[in-house]
Symmetry: C2
């Protein structure tokens, strides 16, 4: 399996401890999740029905600000698996470095994949992929700059898995245009990654193609119910945006005091430049705090946000000991 | 969308009533489900991890009686979506009539699909598909007769979605042989179709190909937990097999008294030959009992088993009124 965050099994194998001993900051998943409501018995027992799916789609449209076709899938990852099949393999370009599953899925289906450094370098590709804001460095590209690319590529995939805190950055209101595919993740911002829920926003023809490839009942019943409720909960969404914004500042201060340079991030994770990322990860792991480092960088270390004062305290202590390492 | 059971939304649109007014017998889903346990918070919040997946795989291997590679997917349907991609499109044969998604998925990926009447007629196909026991007519093919086909086809897919009550019929103990792909469904026998869980049993190379196509985290966290617990619950499995066997007899008697001829079935559904299937379905629907009829047959009507004495009573009353219709 490719290198990912969230592999706490691997952390425990190397550094010991039980799951409850660890603070997993290796992902960008919100550690103060949306409270799972009582699940309707039918959501478990029956095949997911049209009415439940329609309710989820309506909530997603309102939350993301689009009237375009919206297709729920089993996570943004499920969409990434299907994108290479929307057309015959050709030349894909991806703004890199970024989430490594895009390139892997495309290469696995016979696409020629070129990694480029700027959005403008996507021009000419049959399929162009950009993650916005980007993972892991948080780089943000304004919507107008991406829209200008639309006529210059076959399809433009904008992966907005980390855009929940920056709605002004989203191309969701532009979804429905031919050639534009917007991906949204549910589990990261709402802290329910185990649910497996994400969305494709696309023109009618592409949405229908995704639906055909995914087949019926691709999203589980509890996800339909929880997703519809959570996406409609404007109070929770607003409060969570405010909290995350405050906490990113707190995280950046802690890291700065440890001598790390802020290198970017989103509301759900922060990227730091460290003297030696592998050593920094090992140091945090001794305190049973799991972080993310990257095979292509000796210095980058990514941290999600702690979920409680106890977790903040443990992270602060571990970072204080790192100072000068 | 193709014609399926489970479309209660459609039933309500045509015949009124709220979901709680209806008895949905249009599927083969057990209406007395495995009791959903308390879900571990991590199952909702974290990305599904390797340890949870390994525990589920171990439980599935023990339950199905195989040491072969087992891959959990989001329902047997998820496997059906991927089968056409294991190799370049060629000539597929399917023993028909059967579950219509196999042919649809293959044709959608450019396969030439021929429907045949007997297992032996599968010989020569690049990909051969048989549902055993079959849906909707319950036809059962002995394992030896299927194994004899293995050298005569490119790949043999045996969809055992309804085999939980007939373990002696299963090819799971033979799984791992090159070219043999066995599909198992979790949601039907355990009555938890909303969970989206199924399994592929295959040789290592094919299992790896499925895993690559499905991508990471394709099964949700609660499904990993519930599936592992339920598949290891031998007491529940044994009691449910006994109950279903008794209840199929009760169903057949009711239908026979209504003048319908038993045409086949499994422990989870029964198929009857009626004078006019559309009329029979409409008659049951007036009593808010939803059944399944088939576009290719004017006489076949399929019924799942009621889940309570109240439901049995309502079905008995509705069938008594049908007598002679």
């Amino acid at each position: 399996m490719r290198d990912h965050g969230g592999n706490l099994d691997e952390a425990m194998r190397r550094y010991g401890g039980a799951p409850e001993d660890w603070i997993d900051l290796s992902t960008g998943i919100n550690r103060i999740p949306y409270k799972v409501p009582a699940i309707a018995p039918d959501a478990w027992t029956a095949l997911p029905g049209r009415a439940a799916e329609d309710a989820l789609i309506a909530a997603a449209r309102a939350a993301y600000g689009t009237d375009a076709p919206v297709l729920p899938l089993a996570g943004a990852q499920a969409a990434i698996q299907l994108i290479p099949r929307l057309s015959a393999p050709g030349r894909a370009r991806i703004v890199a470095p970024t989430y490594n599953e895009h390139a892997a899925a495309l290469r696995g289906m016979g696409w020629q994949v070129e990694e480029v450094a700027t959005p403008e370098a996507l021009a000419g590709a049959d399929l162009a992929v950009i993650v916005n804001p980007n993972n892991p460095d948080g780089r943000r590209i304004e919507p107008a700059r991406l829209l200008a690319l639309l006529p210059l590529v076959g399809r433009l995939v904008v992966d907005e898995s980390f855009a929940d805190s920056t709605p002004a950055l989203s191309l969701a209101p532009q979804a429905g245009r031919e050639g534009l595919i917007v991906l949204r993740s549910f589990g990261k911002f709402f802290g329910l990654a185990g649910l497996r829920l994400g969305f494709v926003l696309a023109c009618a023809a592409d949405a229908a193609a995704f639906a055909q490839l995914a087949g019926p009942w691709s999203v589980n019943g509890p996800a339909l119910q929880i997703g519809a409720q959570a996406l409609a909960d404007r109070v929770w969404i607003k409060a969570t945006r405010s909290r995350l914004e405050a906490e990113t500042g707190r995280m950046d201060s802690l890291a700065s005091a440890a001598g790390w340079r802020f290198a970017g991030g989103t509301a759900l994770f922060r990227l730091f430049e460290t003297p030696d990322a592998a050593q920094a990860q090992a140091h945090l792991a001794q305190a049973h705090i799991w972080s993310r480092i990257f095979p292509y960088s000796r210095h980058w270390l990514r941290l999600g946000l702690p979920g409680s004062e106890d977790e903040w305290g443990r992270l602060g202590n571990a970072l204080a000991k790192i100072r000068g390492v």
